[in-house]
C-alpha cells in the first residue's frame, strides 16, 4: 500500500483499493501497476491492492483506513457495482464515512474478463480508476429515505400459481386481492384431465385450493376482471381494476343454474371456450361445475336480450334470488397495495402456424388441450375418445414439439410437452385401446419421478418413433392408408422415412407468452425477454423478482414450467412479497433529482417528462418542483433542464463531466 502524507489537503482525501478477485482480475490486469498509478494521483491519500476486497478482512481494511487516515472519499476497483456497490457502501458506513462518498470501478466484467491483452486491459483499468477518483471528489453526503410499505398484496392471474401465492400470503395474515381475467379461477390446470407423473386428477387437487381461495377471509376474489392501470412504486402501488359485467349480481347468485335450464335456447348452441370449442353452451353459462366463484354469466355476443333487447328473459324469471341485471355496467375499482405478484400464465401455440399438420383441415387432428377435454370424464364426450365425425380411433399419433425447438416457430423447449404427451398416450390407450405412436425429438423427463413415468409408458406398448413429423396427409399411397391420416416421418433411429397411418393426430403444442404479454408487462413496468416471457431480475439468483421493486413474477408467464415448479415459484414470489411487507418500510435509493428553486425559471420543460408524475408545477411560485419520494432517479429531467437548474444526486453534471475528463486525460 502507498500512503501519501505530503499531499496538499485542498482536495478531499481519497482511499483507492484495487481487488485481485483471486486471479479473476489479477490474471489480466497488473493490479500493482494500477495501485501505484492511483497512489500518485492528486488527492489520493491511500492506495492499496488486496486479494478479495469484498471479504470481511477487505471490508475491515477499508473501515480501518477511513478512521486512521481520515479518508473522505472511497474508490474500489473490482467487479460490477451491480454485485458489490452495496457491500462497499456499508463498509464505508462502518468506517464512519457517508456511504455515498463511494464510487465503484468495474474492472472485472468490463475489463479483465473481456480483454485478451494485458497491457491494454491495464491501461483501461488505469483510465477508469482515474475517472472514478476525479468523480468521487464531487460526491455529496446523501441519505436513504424510508417510506412505509402498504401490507396489502395484489395477485394478478388466478391459475395454480396465483392461487398458491394468494393462499400463502393470506395464511400469513396479509389481505390479498386476486384478480383473474376469466370468469373463474383455475387457469389451464382446470382444463387438464390427469396430471403427470402421478396421474392425479387435476380437478381433484385443484378444486380444494380454489375453494380455499373463495372462503379465505383474507382473500378478495375478483374474477372476470382486469388490471387497467398501475401507478406508484414499491410499497405504495395504486392499481385500477376494471370488472367486466356478468349481467348477474355476484353476491346474489348461488350457482343453482336453474337459469341455464330455463334459457330460451333449449339446446346449447355455442362453442364453449373451456372445452376448447369441442363442447357447446348456452348464452347464459358457467365454465365448469366447480367454477369459482360459482356464479353464472351471460355472453353479450350470443344472448338475445343483450343483442336485441327483445327476450322474455325466462332466465331472470327462473332466478328466485333475482340476481339478473341486464343493465349491469363495467365497474372500475381502485386498490392500494404494497406488492404485486404477476402470475398471468401462458397460451398454447397456435397450430394454424403449422399448416402441414392439417389442423382444421382434417377433423381428426386435435391439439393437446382438446384431448385433455376429450379424455376428461366431465368433458364434452364424457371421457370417450370419439372423434368429431363420431368414429373411434384405432390408431393415434402424438406429435411432440409442435411450436417448440423450432427455428421457424419458437426456439425454446416448452418443458412440459414430452411429459404430457406421455400422459395423453397413456390416457388415450386406457380409454380407447388404440395403438398409440409418439413422435419425438428427445424425450425430456427431468423431474422427480418423471423418468420412471416414461419407463412405465415404455412398458405399456406405446410406440416411440424418434423423428420430426414432416406432414399429416390424407393422400393414400397404399390401400391400408385409405381413409386414414398418414404421418410422414424420418425415423432417425431406424434410418429411413416411414408413413404411419392413424385415425387421430394429437399435436403437442408448446407454451408461449400470453398474446397481450407486451401490453401487460408495460402496464406493470417490467421487462420482457426477446421471446416475450416476463424478465426475471437474475436467472439464477432472483428468478421471481423483476427489475421493478415490489413486483414479482411466478409460473409460466416467466417461462414454460410444470405444475410442481410453478407452485414452488409461486411460494417463492409470496415469500419475497412477505419479506418486503414484513420489513415494514422500503429504503429509497437517493439518486433522485431535485430542482434548485432559485434557479428555476418556470419554463415547464421538465413537467411532462416524468413517467412517475413526480414533477409538478407550483402555480403560486410559478416554478416546477419534484416530489423526491415519487422520483425514481432516471435523470431525464436533469438532462432536459435548459438552464441547468435540476440536479440528480450521484449523477450531477460535475460528477459526469469529471468522469468524462478522467477517462480521456493522458
Amino acid at each position: 500500500m502507498t500512503e501519501n502524507k505530503s499531499k496538499k489537503e485542498t482536495l478531499p482525501r481519497v482511499g483507492f483499493y484495487i481487488c485481485h478477485c483471486g486471479s479473476n482480475i489479477a490474471s489480466m490486469i497488473d493490479v500493482l501497476e494500477v495501485q501505484k498509478y492511483a497512489a500518485a494521483l492528486p488527492g489520493v491519500a491511500v492506495s492499496r491492492e488486496y486479494k478479495y476486497m469484498c471479504s470481511d478482512p477487505g471490508q475491515e481494511m477499508i473501515a480501518k483506513d477511513i478512521k486512521e487516515h481520515k479518508l473522505e472519499r472511497l474508490v474500489v476497483a473490482a467487479c460490477s457495482p451491480n454485485l458489490h456497490e452495496e457491500t462497499f457502501r456499508k463498509a464505508a458506513a462502518k468506517g464512519g464515512l457517508n456511504p455515498f462518498f463511494f464510487q465503484m470501478v468495474n474492472i472485472r466484467e468490463h475489463a479483465a474478463w473481456v480483454h485478451e491483452d494485458k497491457k491494454s486491459a491495464t491501461e483501461k483499468a488505469k483510465d477508469l480508476a482515474r475517472a472514478a477518483i476525479a468523480r468521487v471528489r464531487f460526491h455529496k453526503s446523501l441519505d436513504k429515505k424510508r417510506v412505509a410499505v402498504d401490507p396489502n398484496v395484489l395477485v394478478v392471474g388466478g391459475g395454480i400459481a396465483g392461487i398458491h401465492a394468494a393462499l400463502t400470503l393470506a395464511n400469513a395474515g396479509k389481505k390479498v386481492t386476486l384478480v383473474e381475467r376469466e370468469a373463474t379461477i383455475g387457469g389451464h390446470m382446470a382444463a387438464f384431465d390427469k396430471t403427470f407423473p402421478t396421474l392425479d386428477c387435476a380437478a381433484c387437487i385443484l378444486t380444494p385450493k380454489m375453494s380455499a381461495v373463495k372462503s379465505h377471509p383474507n382473500i378478495t376474489l375478483w374474477t372476470y376482471s382486469e388490471v387497467s392501470k398501475v401507478e406508484g412504486y414499491v410499497g405504495n402501488y395504486k392499481v385500477t381494476v376494471t370488472r367486466k359485467p356478468r349481467f348477474v349480481k355476484e353476491d346474489l347468485c348461488v350457482g343453482c343454474m336453474e337459469c341455464i335450464d330455463a334459457c330460451v335456447f333449449k339446446e346449447p348452441k355455442f362453442k364453449d371456450k373451456f372445452n376448447q370449442g369441442l363442447g357447446k353452451r348456452k348464452p347464459v353459462y358457467i365454465d365448469f361445475p366447480q367454477a369459482t366463484p360459482k356464479v353464472v354469466l351471460v355472453d353479450p355476443e350470443t344472448c338475445i336480450q343483450l343483442k336485441t333487447g327483445k327476450c322474455k328473459q325466462p332466465c331472470a324469471a327462473a332466478c328466485d334470488r333475482k340476481a339478473f341485471d341486464f343493465n349491469q355496467k363495467a365497474e372500475t375499482k381502485e386498490l392500494q397495495v404494497g406488492a404485486i405478484v404477476l402470475s398471468t400464465g401462458f397460451k398454447t401455440y397456435d397450430v394454424a402456424r403449422s399448416p402441414q399438420y392439417g389442423y382444421g383441415r382434417y377433423p381428426g387432428v386435435y391439439t393437446a388441450l382438446e384431448v385433455e377435454r376429450l379424455v376428461n370424464a366431465s368433458g364434452p364426450t364424457s371421457g370417450e375418445v370419439v372423434l368429431r365425425d363420431g368414429t373411434h380411433p384405432k390408431a393415434v399419433g402424438i406429435i411432440h414439439c409442435v411450436g417448440s425447438r423450432d427455428a421457424k416457430t419458437n426456439k425454446w423447449c416448452s418443458r412440459v410437452c414430452c411429459m404430457y404427451s406421455l400422459k395423453l398416450a397413456h390416457l388415450i390407450k386406457e380409454h380407447s385401446g388404440a395403438e398409440v405412436y409418439n413422435f419425438y425429438i428427445d424425450m425430456r423427463a427431468p423431474g422427480k419421478a418423471y423418468e420412471e413415468f416414461y419407463d412405465k409408458l415404455l412398458g405399456e406398448g406405446v410406440h416411440f418413433i424418434r423423428g420430426r413429423v414432416d406432414e399429416v396427409t390424407d393422400w393414400a399411397m397404399t390401400p391400408e392408408e385409405e381413409g386414414k391420416l398418414v404421418l410422414r416421418v424420418e425415423d432417425t433411429l431406424a434410418g429411413f422415412v416411414r408413413r404411419i397411418p392413424v385415425d387421430m393426430v394429437v399435436l403437442s403444442t408448446g407454451l408461449e407468452p400470453q398474446p397481450d404479454a407486451q401490453e401487460v408487462r408495460r402496464r406493470f413496468n417490467i421487462g420482457c425477454g426477446s421471446e416475450g416471457f416476463f424478465q426475471e431480475r437474475h436467472p439464477k439468483l432472483a428468478p421471481v423478482n423483476t427489475f421493478t421493486d415490489g413486483i414479482y413474477i411466478a409460473g409460466a408467464c416467466q417461462a414454460p414450467r410444470d405444475i410442481p415448479d410453478t407452485v414452488a415459484q409461486a411460494g417463492a414470489a409470496a415469500a419475497e412479497a412477505l419479506s418486503l411487507i414484513d420489513a415494514g418500510f422500503v429504503e429509497l435509493e437517493p439518486n433522485t433529482s431535485h430542482i434548485v428553486e432559485e434557479e428555476c425559471s418556470g419554463c415547464k420543460t421538465c413537467v411532462p417528462l416524468c413517467p412517475y408524475s413526480a414533477i409538478t408545477f407550483d402555480e403560486a411560485k410559478k416554478k416546477a418542483t419534484i416530489n423526491e419520494v415519487l422520483c425514481k432517479g432516471c435523470g431525464v429531467c436533469a438532462a432536459a433542464c435548459p438552464s441547468g437548474s435540476i440536479r440528480q444526486n450521484l449523477f450531477e453534471d460535475d460528477e459526469i463531466f469529471s468522469e468524462i475528463e478522467g477517462v480521456l486525460a493522458k
Binding site: S80, P81, N82, N106, R108, E109, H110, A111, W113, V114, H115, E116, D117, S120, A121, E123, K124, D127, L128, A131, Q518, R522, N525, G527, C528, G529, S530, Q535, F547, T548, N591, L609, P611, K632, G633, C634, G635, V636, A638, A639, A640, Q648, F651, D653, I656, F657, E659, I660, E661, V663, L664, A665, K666
Partner: protein, 166 residues
C-alpha cells in the same frame, strides 16, 4: 514510431439494459476490443448532449450511447427522449464535421451481451479506419495562429493576464 492508432471510445451505458448486458458479456467471458470506456448512468435519458460534445472535445475519437430498446425503458420512456435529442445531435455533429459513425446510438437489452461485443468491436474497427479525431490537439493547433503575436506583445511581461485562456 508506427504504433497502430487505437481509438478511444467513451460509452454512456444505461444501468438497467446496456450496463447489465456488458456485465453479462463479462460473465460469459466474451472477448472484445479494449477501446471503450464505460460511464454508467441510470437511464440513457440522463445523457445530456453536452456530455457527448464534451467527450469529443476532451479527446474521444468516438462516443457510444447505449440504452434500452424502445418500449422497454426501465423508466418507461427515457429512451424516447434520448432518441429524439440524439437524432438532432447527429445532424449537428455532421454539420460540424463529425460523422460516419463516430457518434453512435445503440439499443441493447440486458440479455444482449453478445450485442455489446459486436457493437464495440464494430465501432472500434470503423473509428480506427476514420483515424484520430483528437480535438484537444486540434484546438492547440488552431490557437497557434494567435500565439506568435501573443508572445510578441507580451515579451518580458510578468503579467499573465494577456495570455489567452483558450
Amino acid at each position: 514510431m508506427s504504433e497502430q492508432f487505437e481509438p478511444k471510445i467513451v460509452a454512456f451505458f444505461c444501468n438497467w439494459c446496456t450496463y447489465t448486458a456488458a456485465d453479462l458479456a463479462g460473465v460469459s467471458r466474451l472477448k472484445y476490443a479494449p477501446n471503450a470506456r464505460v460511464i454508467r448512468v441510470m437511464c440513457s435519458g440522463r445523457v445530456d448532449p453536452q456530455f457527448v460534445l464534451d467527450a469529443f472535445a476532451k479527446g474521444a475519437d468516438g462516443v457510444l450511447l447505449g440504452g434500452c430498446h424502445p418500449g422497454d425503458c426501465h423508466y418507461a420512456e427515457g429512451n424516447y427522449k434520448t432518441l429524439r435529442r440524439m437524432r438532432m445531435l447527429t445532424r449537428m455533429l455532421k454539420d460540424m464535421g463529425i460523422y460516419d459513425g463516430r457518434f453512435r446510438l445503440e439499443w441493447i437489452s440486458g440479455a444482449e451481451g453478445d450485442k455489446v461485443k459486436s457493437v464495440i468491436n464494430d465501432m472500434t474497427k470503423k473509428v480506427r479506419a476514420l483515424g484520430p479525431l483528437d480535438l484537444p490537439g486540434k484546438f492547440k493547433n488552431w490557437d497557434k495562429e494567435i500565439e506568435e503575436l501573443e508572445a510578441q506583445v507580451n515579451k518580458g511581461d510578468k503579467d499573465k493576464e494577456a495570455v489567452h485562456a483558450g
